[in-house]
């Protein structure tokens, strides 16, 4: 068997003690050990952003982020966005704007968008586009996603 290490992650506000192999990525630990499969793996190379989660409020690609490096840190995933069954304003905006189709990029988009809005609560359209530059979507053509982030920010900017 391979060597293992112990660590404690704070995942969506719950403390999760774990014993893992040092090579395991945060995405693997979230998906395979904690059953949090909302975090998706696509490119597995930090290009597409599908696996974006927040570690201490910073958006990171969980596919290339070693779980060991998150030891003792605060990890937030898409499963933690809704509170007591109530969707976050960004989640609701994604539904309102049809900002997803297949949904495979959506968790990552939501996490990147959440980080963006925490850092810049009233972004301009350009700031949103820039903030989502690391997240690929193949279905929507991005425009509805940008609209959704702006809606959640209360900017109310409408695409014609």
């Amino acid at each position: 068997m391979h060597d293992t290490i112990e660590l404690v992650l704070d995942v969506n506000g719950r403390s999760r003690p774990l014993r893992i192999e040092p090579r395991e990525t945060l995405a693997e630990v979230l998906r395979d050990r904690l059953g949090l499969t909302g975090t998706k793996i696509s490119c597995d190379a930090q290009v597409c952003g599908a696996c974006t989660v927040l570690v201490d409020d910073l958006a990171v690609s969980a596919c290339t982020y070693l779980a060991a490096d998150a030891d003792g840190r605060r990890v937030r995933t898409v499963e933690g966005l809704a509170r007591d069954g109530e969707l976050s304003p960004l989640q609701q905006a994604f539904i309102d704007r049809a900002a997803f189709q297949c949904g495979f990029c959506t968790s990552g988009m939501l996490m990147a968008g959440t980080a963006l809005l925490e850092e810049t609560p009233k972004p301009t359209r350009d700031q949103v586009v820039h903030g989502l530059e690391g997240n690929l979507c193949r279905c929507t053509g991005y425009a509805p996603i940008v609209d959704a982030v702006l809606q959640a920010a209360g900017a109310g900017e409408e695409r014609s």
């Binding site: 696509s42 969707l87 297949c102 495979f104 690929l136 193949r138 940008v146």
Partner: protein
Amino acid sequence: MRRVGTHDAAPSPIGESVPRRDGVAKVTGAATYATDVVLPGLAHAKILRSPYPHARIRSIDKTAARAHPGVIAVVAADDLADVELVYGHALADHPLIAVDKVRFAGEPIVGIVAEDAVTAEEALALVDVAYEPLPYLTDVREALAADAPVIHEKPGEQRAHRGFEEDIERTHPNVCSTSRQQWGDVDAAFAAADLVVEGEFRYPRCYAYAMEPYTTVASWSEGRLTVWTSCQHPYMVRDDLAHCFRLPLSAVRVVVPYVGGGYGSKSYTKIEPLTSALALRAGRPVRLALSVEEAILTTRGDAADIRIASAFDREGHLLGRRAEVLLDTGGYAENSPLVARKAANRLGGPYRIPALDVRSSAVYTNTAPASSFRGFGAPQAVFAGESQMDEAAERLGLDPLELRRRNVLRRGERGWPKVRGIDADVGADIELAAEELDWSATAEAGHGKAVCVSASDAGSEPVTTAVLRVHADGSVTVMAGSTEIGQGSSTVLAQIAAGEMSVPLERVNLVQSDTANVSYDRSTGASRTTTLMGLAIQRAAQDARAQLVRWAEESLAPDGPTVIEEADGVSIGGRHHDWGSLVRAWFGGASGEVVGRGYLRRSGATEEMPPFWEVGCVGVEASVDEETGEIHLERLVTVGDVGAAINPQLVESQDIGAAVMGLGMAMREELVYEDGNLINGNLFDYRVPRAADIPPLRTVLVERGDGVGTYGAKGGGEGSLNPVAPAIANAVYRAAGIRLREAPFTPERVWRALQARDAGRKAAG
């Protein structure tokens, strides 16, 4: 979004932009995809792939891999004597794992099943394969040389799902299939022409990049096979699995959870036979999840090389067209025979062409197999055809829009014999695109505008069934074999059921894509689901309603008071009875249900082929950076002629997505081979559009109620992709005076064209 046109009133919530029914699941991470499926005892597979583009396999030594701790099975073709290895719905030429030779770099040779994926990956290095490299081909014209190496020594067997009745003999062993479209006297047309426009157009090999790479979980139990997979056509996959494992169709269950993107790339069968074979040998359920790099090597779009000539009279009327289309289909046929057929059909455009002769061939090369990719055949064909319309307009001194006006088919007019007349007002659609682009206003200096149109014979074949059950409480379960691939079928089909039965949408449950539990649908592709499955559901609802009315007569009005059918039940002697009460009354208790059936075949409204035409227009305003060759898209307009939008917001989002996907292929995307290997087979080097690449967009939905679907619906989702490349090329011509005939229009290609233009101008003095 702008909406134009009117159609028959539809019962609520049909025609309303209700929120997606998969919305909450998808924004909370709860939606389950094939990649999330876990079974007890699940083992994991990895695939050893050929490093050679074309080679004979001399030997495979599996000893060391089998001895590796944690390895459960090491499987090559010689371990599968009990399996029918070769499959293919059009041509059976594709072994599920390499047999004796490999035909492209990346072809699977050995599958290893282990307790975990890391162990399986480690064991790949322990397999020793001896190859005898063979001369290889990565170019279609080289592949057609008289002395070219032969990729398939034995032609693939023709199979049932051909979809191309008039194919002609293959003229070279490397020709996979040839389709021909021919009518009128082409020689006479060209002899009489005032203008002939000729050219050669090249469209690249592209990768759909569905963000969920191909993933399959296969499990055997009591001689039956169950597969969870990320695919579009579960019933087609079932057919291939039944063939490979010599099972009755009823012994194969294909289940499709949410699919992380399709765009045609998950049409037909991919890794399901291989995963099932590995599970059979392992004696365990097996998961095979490909990486993006492996997915690129599994399916791509067909590259096209199109030589085309169009003949016009001096008023700009098309007299004739000749074309030869060569598609690079890679190592295996997959769906390319149909792509070749569609490219031939779509070269006519929505135009009246008195004489036409198109030969369209899918040609084998030693590259990754090509198959369906959104618009299949249309983006390639429309690039050539629509570019030539603008070239002709310029040479005749006509406005490109006016040239199109003079040639466009009128509603009901047939583009060629024995085809459905066009079910759209294409001329009016083109005007809408022009209007949105302020066509009559002169473009800013250095800018160019263009409008292009495509009409695709869409909908595939009308072979579709639906079951609609009304339960004892009046709620409804619909069983529909269409797959939710992101297009919104789970919402739109439920809307149709709710409207037809007049029950609240939240009381309708839609069950999709499980071949054991849901009745047959041919496929989810060719923009067919809303139209064809929508019709089947409407018929199932009508069938359920008719039975319920009969039951009301039998159980509540045996002595003759008239039963009057209402939207949400019946009325007898002035008293309303809802559907649930009719079910309960007929069964004589508190339970029971009625089962409504809807069938669709080539009969009645769907007798003529295609089931509908998918018409899309794209308008582009572009400028060119003369220093860098970068094209700037100032704005992009789409017109989707969808007949009737069941959910306008979802149609709009399909249209925008399609246009942006087309933009990626026109501007950047191309799979490049060097020395027989794909050199940009990853997302670092293969660049898909990003948020910052999107120009200002505007969408027009046209709803004139002229489709065969419910309330006049037709399909959408491809039409706005097909004309994007020629619209950009034509706009660039008008902005900068360069004619781009090879996509993608990378800055380097554009810059070289600008240099050639300047050199030409200098030479001309």
